[in-house]
Amino acid sequence: MFPISEFLRRLTVLLAIAGLIWGGAYVASPLVERGPVLCTFRVVSGKSCPTCGMTRATCALARGHWREAMRHHPLVVPFWVAMIALIWVHRGATASRQREPWRRVSLYVFLCVLFAATVFRVIEWIPSG
């Protein structure tokens, strides 16, 4: 798919970004549990937005606490898989006929995950009973 030098360069960039996110999430993990609400939507409306809980879930995931991560946001794993795919396909790439379908697919998959998160939250908003 890519020349080997291009592959290694992309892999290095991806690992650097992933390491930065993982390290940041690991360090910030004790903070976000008791931290302030950064989401304007939640502050204003009192309801969770589609991605509310994703930061806490990511921090829990960074510490290997899977159940806690799922409790904060059940789509945390698909979210980061889609995000990594998006970075992998887009980072440092220029458009070409061969890569364009992958760029499009990765973007659509990412947007589908966000749509699924939105549906999940809308269902939560509906009062039970």
């Binding site: 996110i21 940041g24 910030a28 903070l31 976000v32 008791r34 931290g35 302030p36 609400v37 950064l38 989401c39 304007t40 939507f41 502050v43 937005c49 589609p50 991605t51 509310c52 994703m54 930061t55 990511t58 979210f79 995000m83 998006l86 970075i87 887009h90 980072r91 790439a93 220029t94 458009a95 070409s96 006929r97 760029r103 973007l107 990412f110 947007l111 966000l114």
Partner: protein, 165 residues
């Protein structure tokens, strides 16, 4: 005067004179977005913007080129911004006001789209949107980091309750 034809794979063909280029257009080997390079000056231009070839392509709605408002040579003009540029802007806005993690995606998509526009591979109309998404993404990530630092400092000085912001 002749032009090199820059293929999508980056290879150069030619130089070819105008009549040959016109023949290649009729054969479909050169399309409106194909980049041509002047053999003497090295100036790149989109095939549909070359006056000798423009009449051979269907109208693309390209605006007339005049002075400062002219797009860079070889730029893809017309058709409005790409969906990717719009997505970068939307993710940048949503990342700023809701989940700052989306700002990472805004940065990646925005930067990628800006590169494509600069290389003439995406509509130039989308550059502003992509750049806005890219900048908003950076602001969102900075806000997230600053928020965490702020909270860490507040915890450090012994405040148990931190106001929302």
């Amino acid at each position: 005067m002749g032009y090199y034809v820059i293929a999508h794979d980056g290879n150069r063909y030619g130089p070819a004179d105008i009549s040959t280029l016109q023949q290649w257009v009729r054969e479909g080997r050169i399309v409106a977005n194909t980049t041509l390079e002047d053999e003497f000056t090295g100036t790149k231009i989109r095939a549909s913007l070359l006056p000798e070839l423009s009449h051979l392509f269907p109208s693309t709605g390209a605006p007339p080129i005049d002075g400062a408002s002219a797009p860079p040579p070889g730029a893809m003009v017309g058709g409005g911004p790409s969906s990717r540029a719009t997505t970068a802007l939307v993710l940048g806005i949503v990342g700023l006001i809701c989940c700052q993690l989306l700002s990472i995606a805004a940065i990646v998509i925005g930067k990628s789209e800006m590169n494509d526009v600069d290389r003439g591979l995406a509509p130039v109309e989308g550059r502003g949107l992509a750049q806005a998404g890219f900048i908003l993404g950076i602001v969102g990530v900075i806000l997230l980091v600053l928020g965490l630092i702020y909270f860490a400092v507040m915890l450090g000085v012994g405040l148990n309750s931190v106001p929302n912001f």
